[in-house]
């Protein structure tokens, strides 16, 4: 004879209803300020390079272009990274002041 799954489900529901209410876990916050700050801290420094993929010819051309643009891209990335780092420092301090006034 096949077990009645619906009956077991009913038993489980009755069991839950009969038990004293348990504390619910804290709600999920889509992204807390601490999470967002963590994300900013982890991504402060821009990486001007990405792994190149494709056939060897395409990779070669991409590498040449990358080398040619290095003089432009690398200083821009460094400058933006410094700006990011400063912004993250300010935000971190504000969060600290908020948490430990």
């Amino acid at each position: 004879m096949e077990l009645d799954i619906e009956q077991i489900m009913q038993e489980i529901r009755e069991e839950i209803a009969a038990q004293p209410p348990v504390p619910e876990p804290p709600a999920f916050a889509p992204e807390s300020a601490a999470d967002a700050l963590g994300f900013l801290q982890a991504h402060t420094a821009l990486r001007p390079y990405r792994a190149l993929s494709g056939n060897p010819g395409k990779v070669f051309v991409q590498r040449v272009i990358r080398r040619m643009l290095r003089f432009l891209i690398v200083p821009l990335a460094e400058e933006q990274s410094e700006i990011n780092a400063a912004a993250v420092r300010v935000l971190s301090e504000l969060v600290q002041r908020e948490e430990h006034p």
Binding site: E2, I8, V22, P25
Partner: protein, 356 residues
């Protein structure tokens, strides 16, 4: 001779739409059709099988099968192709899910929905993975013939050898593993899986939750989930990140229960894969999930209730067997040979109608 040309924005091994396209390509070839598979972005491993979309030339006697699952510049070409066109619709996640985490993903999804509406008069037939997806097409204004086409399940790839080291790692400590497979994405509601696990862990500390899936492009949601796991004091949660097939197989083999709290799914292939591995499934009854389960598995949207069901499945062998038996019956509907026959008959009827 009529060529059957599949076109999709991107193709990469392991992705559900790509797997479907590759399986269809083999099916069409085996059935004697001159089949062509084209994509805009092609993963290096598939460059021998797939042609670049930029080189695609279509003739009036060709049939185009366009896989629609996201926004893509390809949609601009569709109205200009002078051939017969069929859409294979795989659903588009509502952009609202992505807005708090990835404006780019939200924009892509919104673009996809806009393109779906723009293309509503371009196809003479639309085939979707589920009746739920057909509803989405109707809402978008599609009036052409619509039908459900069962997905070609990649069951053959599930019979490969698993990653032995990973399997050992997941089973050596004797913990009971709960598994969810799917990319880390807000519509999959992994936070509810963490809540479910929190409830279970109170009563059964000898358990582990495995979340197998890539967080690429969803780094902020992933960070929020990690923060939430810390808040809940859950240490036994494993985020695998992008995982290769042998690793995924190890996860399935190490797991005892498959849990899914996803809120938006056009089909949800991992549910069928879990049934293939004889894992009892507990899932939220949202979107196409009840249709995919077809009365098998157990539907529960309440994490606390789902945790109690998981606990019962871990301890009550008769209950577990009853659930799995029902799933085995359901699994027959996903038999690739059946899905292949359905698709070929749909295509045959379409071609006959075109020539009549």
């Amino acid at each position: 001779m009529t060529r059957i040309v599949q076109l999709l924005p991107a193709i990469t091994p392991g992705d559900a739409v790509s797997c479907d396209a590759l399986a269809l390509h083999r099916l069409l070839r085996d059935a004697g059709y001159p089949a062509v598979l084209c994509a805009m972005h092609i993963a290096p491993a598939l460059r021998d099988t797939v042609q670049p979309a930029s080189a695609l030339v279509l003739y009036p006697e060709d049939v185009l099968l366009y896989h629609m699952s996201t926004g893509s510049p390809l949609h601009q070409c569709i109205p200009h192709y002078r051939c017969r066109k069929i859409m294979l619709f795989h659903n588009i996640t509502p952009p609202g899910y992505f807005t708090p985490y990835s404006p780019a993903a939200a924009a892509r999804a919104a673009q996809g929905l806009a393109e779906l509406r723009q293309l509503r008069t371009c196809f003479s037939l639309c085939l979707a993975d589920s009746a739920y997806n057909l509803g989405v097409l109707r809402e978008a204004g599609y009036t052409c013939p619509l039908a459900v086409r069962p997905l070609l399940m990649p069951f053959a790839s599930l019979a490969q050898k698993p990653d032995a080291a990973m399997l050992r790692r997941l089973t050596a400590d004797g913990r009971h593993n709960l598994l969810f497979v799917g990319r880390i994405a807000p519509n999959k509601r992994q936070e509810d899986l963490l809540r479910l696990f929190w409830h279970l862990h109170q009563r059964r500390p000898d358990t582990r939750l495995i979340l197998a899936g890539s967080w690429e492009g969803m780094g902020r949601y992933y960070a929020a989930l990690q923060g939430y796991a810390r808040t809940l004091g859950l240490r036994d949660v494993l985020f695998t990140g992008h995982i290769r097939q042998p690793g995924l197989l190890a996860c399935y083999l190490a797991a005892e229960v498959f849990v899914c709290m996803s809120e938006h799914e056009g089909f949800c292939v991992p549910l069928a894969e879990a049934m293939y591995f004889d894992l009892p499934v507990i899932a939220r009854g949202s979107a196409a999930v009840p249709e995919t389960l077809g009365g098998a598995g157990i539907l529960s949207s309440d994490p606390r209730e789902a945790a109690r069901i998981a606990e019962r499945l871990l301890t009550d062998a008769a209950f577990r067997e009853a659930v799995c038996r029902r799933q085995r019956r359901r699994l027959a509907a996903f038999e690739p040979s059946h899905a292949g026959r359905v698709f070929l008959s749909q295509l045959g009827a379409y071609l006959e109608e075109c020539t009549a």
